[in-house]
């Protein structure tokens, strides 16, 4: 009886130990620090090359997009510091100037942040638009390609 219980305890301990080991290595290998642009500027030497997330506001007028090379560049700010970000590829739907965004990637020795993913932050709080817009307003934007329905 005693020996049998012991056997189960040992088996259980092995399972739990394997689990703990798995979690430990998983956490160690995929920890991502979260910084704001000013924190990143302060610690730029120690975090160089490490995986991290950077969150801030997209600076108005800073977004550049080159459709041929698919290179997207913009600046992120938290009011105290500003970081230059480069990303290969398009941004998600909610990404826009003046709105919040979180980028994941690394701080490069050449002094820019290379983003592998962009996560746009999206606020569900209701803010009535300053100038309420109508469907016709949106229609004007696409005058040149608008045609009568075929779909």
């Amino acid at each position: 009886m005693r020996g049998r219980k012991l056997k189960y305890l040992v088996a259980g301990a092995i399972v739990v130990a394997a689990l703990v080991g798995l979690i430990y290595s998983g956490v160690r290998d995929s920890m991502v620090y979260f910084y704001t642009p000013s924190e990143l500027k302060q610690k730029q030497d120690e975090v160089r090359g490490k995986a991290l997330r950077l969150g801030g506001m997209v600076v108005d007028g800073s977004v550049r997009w080159d459709p041929q090379t698919l290179l997207l560049t913009f600046q992120l700010t938290d009011g105290q510091g500003t970081v230059f970000v480069r990303h290969k590829g398009t941004a998600p739907d909610l990404f826009k100037e003046g709105a919040g965004a979180v980028v994941e990637g690394a701080w490069m020795p050449d002094g820019y942040f290379r983003a592998s993913t962009i996560m746009a932050k999206h606020s569900e709080e209701y803010k009535p638009p300053a100038h309420p817009e109508t469907l016709d307003g949106k229609k004007q934007m696409f005058k040149s390609i608008l045609k009568e329905d075929k779909k």
């Binding site: 088996a11 956490v27 290998d29 979260f34 590829g89 398009t90 739907d93 826009k96 608008l146 045609k147």
Partner: protein, 663 residues
């Protein structure tokens, strides 16, 4: 008008609920049948009141009564009626009302089903089951009374509402949330029976037997909700994936894991009278994780794209969660004398051990997901820095655990109870193991060399091997002994031990889904390129030609789309029209993806950006091999559960009729 009436109805419902709970406990303690009858009536009255509240809110939504803040925030005059109706679960207040309505419905169903004709022992449990269910209802009603009133007014009354988030104006919005809520709320019933069993001092196997079907059906709704959510995300959200380990997704996955563990360990308790405490812990954990999941989703604490609100709700949820945990584990401790099981584990190589191990792995996965989900909060609280663990953590941890689970899925149903002899092992597992080795070798020869994929396939072949083996052997034996044809024998077998074979079909569905997940995540290819009209991009055996942009007016938005033609091996196979939707008052466009869905490979296209003059567009093309297997697997799981839970009487009737027709 509606605001006052609605608030009054909810307040009345709160009073009736509290009365129902108190009357049922009082009636049970004093042995007063009249009080018990009165409390049952109160439960039904409570259901009627909440139904009335739902009707009032739906009436306000459908008639666009923007004097209610909730209506103004969740619908517009132009919305189609079905999306006005869906506004009910479009955000926090309405979702809580929907939850409470389902809760009151289930309580009423429990009264109708069990109060006078349930299995033995039900009479003693029922008053306390009701008290627990009404207590949960009371929490949601209090929440609405003090924090999230769906009938709150807004002043000045806006001329038009703000509408649902355009992402939510799709048919899926009518299905996915309902499935999840049915699953979530469904688990409150087995939880209530478990607590009633503890309170009345009958914490044996009785409550398990009574709630078995409830649990499986709630599990089915939760599973369906998770699969449907993935499918929805894949088809409409426009990032080409179906699962992102987002906190809100994890919130539905965690109770699913503990519920799955519960469904399995119940079998051990029923057969061997072991694991009594463990099952109580699992049912409590499942219910708590449901509450925790709702808290995560609704409090906005983790800042995820899905979370739509913050406010005092979070604190109330946490307090309720603490109360549930204290109450449940306190009761378990109080009844610990009665919870000593009879059974003992005989051997490590046995069905009991396989099930126990399966439980450990499932709860282990749940724990790792929990840890990963709250990691940013933990690190912020403990060390002051926000550290998150993303998708790599979840994948790294869950892949090996998932493989262990697959292996156990093959072993569990076939290994002998008590102590498996070498003979038993050889008889049941030799052929499936050989099938696994042979299948994997063939894949290797065909050019599959990734270790992870090969390992996943080896385990999948093993499980499929055991299932086929079991079906073939059992059918053959029956055909021989009863002298029936092979098909008749197979059908009667399915009907006679529906629980066992339904379960095996569910396993088959899980394996099919896992094959889809493994192959599509490892062999996914994507390419993004800016194309001028007439240019093509090439990806794998496909090339996709861009034939220009077009735009059209839709009832609620402007749709801009790219005309694409997909060629496979040089032959045109499909026209694709991925687009972007532009809504008034929304600065960002919403993706409208298009795809060629196929049983072994999806060609998925997204319009990323475009020049407004129509001269060029940036197109993203993704090839997802075997991704549809995930959805097919979900369908097979549904089929298996239906086989497992169909009521016996109805089936007997059906077979009798069929026999009569044959004769």
């Amino acid at each position: 008008m509606i605001s006052t009436l609605g608030g009054f109805v909810l307040f009345l419902a709160l009073g009736v609920t509290l009365y129902a709970a108190a009357a049922s406990v009082f009636g049970a303690r004093q042995g007063r049948e009249d009080w018990l009858a009165s409390s049952r009536n109160a439960v039904l009255a409570h259901f009627c009141l909440v139904t009335l509240a739902i009707f009032l809110l739906e009436y306000a939504l459908i008639t666009s009564d923007f004097s209610l803040r909730y209506v103004a925030n969740n619908s517009t005059r132009e919305s189609l009626t079905r999306y006005k109706i869906a506004g009910l679960w479009g955000s926090l207040e309405g979702s809580i009302l929907l939850w409470e309505w389902l809760q009151s419905l289930f309580a009423a169903l429990v009264v109708a089903r069990y109060s006078d004709r349930g299995p033995s022992g039900c009479r003693q449990l029922m008053p306390y089951v009701q008290a627990v269910l009404q207590g949960i209802s009371a929490f949601f009603l209090l929440l609405m009374a003090f924090a999230v009133n769906p009938f709150a007014r807004i002043f000045p009354i806006p001329p038009d509402g703000r509408g649902l988030n355009p992402l939510l104006e799709v048919t899926d919005m009518l299905i996915h949330p309902l499935l999840l809520y049915l699953g979530y709320v469904g688990f409150s019933v087995p939880y209530a029976f478990a607590m009633a069993a503890l309170i009345t001092g009958r914490p044996t196997e009785e409550w398990l037997r009574i709630t078995r079907r409830w649990t499986v059906v709630a599990w089915l709704f939760l599973t369906g909700g998770i699969f449907y959510g993935g499918w929805w995300s894949y088809r409409t959200l426009g990032w080409g994936g179906y699962w992102a380990w987002d906190p809100v997704e994890n919130a539905s996955f965690m109770p699913w894991l503990t519920a799955t563990a519960f469904i399995h360990s119940v079998m051990i308790q029923e057969r061997k009278r072991m694991l009594r405490v463990w099952n109580l812990v699992l049912v409590t954990l499942t219910f708590s994780l449901v509450i925790f999941g709702t808290f995560l989703t609704r409090s906005g604490i983790l800042g995820s794209v899905h979370a739509f609100a913050d406010g005092p709700v979070g604190v109330m949820f946490l307090a309720f969660l603490a109360l549930v945990l204290l109450f449940s584990f306190g009761l378990v401790a109080y009844r610990s004398d009665q919870l000593k099981g009879h059974g003992e584990l005989d051997s490590i190589v046995s069905r009991e051990s396989a099930f126990l191990l399966n439980n450990l792995v499932l709860v282990g996965i749940c724990f790792t997901v929990f840890l990963g989900t709250i990691f940013p909060l933990l690190s912020e609280a403990l060390r002051g820095t926000k550290i998150s663990v993303g998708t790599p953590y979840f994948n790294k941890v869950s892949v090996p655990l998932g493989m262990a689970l697959l292996f156990l899925m093959g072993v569990g149903p076939l290994i002998a109870w008590g102590r498996a002899s070498l003979n038993n092992l050889k008889r049941n597992f030799l052929k499936p193991s050989l099938a696994a080795v042979a299948g994997t070798a063939i894949l290797y020869a065909l050019g599959v060399h990734q270790a992870e994929v090969l390992a996943a396939f080896a385990f999948c072949f093993f499980v499929i091997g055991t299932i086929v083996f079991e079906f073939v052997v059992a059918t053959r034996t029956r055909a021989k002994t009863m002298g029936e044809g092979f098909l008749t024998a197979f059908a009667t077998l399915l009907l006679k031990s529906r629980r066992r074979y339904g379960g095996l079909i569910v396993h088959l569905g899980v394996v099919i889904a896992i094959i889809g997940i493994a192959v599509s995540s490892v062999y996914k290819v994507e390419r993004e390129q800016t194309l001028k009209s007439g240019e093509s991009l090439t990806i794998g055996r496909y090339s996709v030609r861009f034939d220009g942009l077009a735009a059209g007016e839709r009832p609620t938005h402007i749709l801009v789309w790219a005309n694409l033609v997909a060629f496979k091996d040089g032959k045109p196979v499909h026209e694709l029209m991925p687009g972007q939707r532009f809504y008034p008052n929304q600065q960002s466009p919403f993706a409208s993806v298009d795809a060629r869905y196929h049983w072994n490979e999806d060609l998925y296209v997204i319009l990323s950006t475009f020049e407004r003059d129509g001269s060029s567009a940036t197109i993203k093309v993704i090839i997802n091999p075997m991704i549809s297997w995930i959805w097919i697997g979900g369908g097979v799981i549904l089929l298996g559960v239906i086989v497992a839970v169909l009521p016996e009487r109805r089936l007997a009737l059906l077979t009798m009729r069929a026999k009569a027709q044959v004769a």
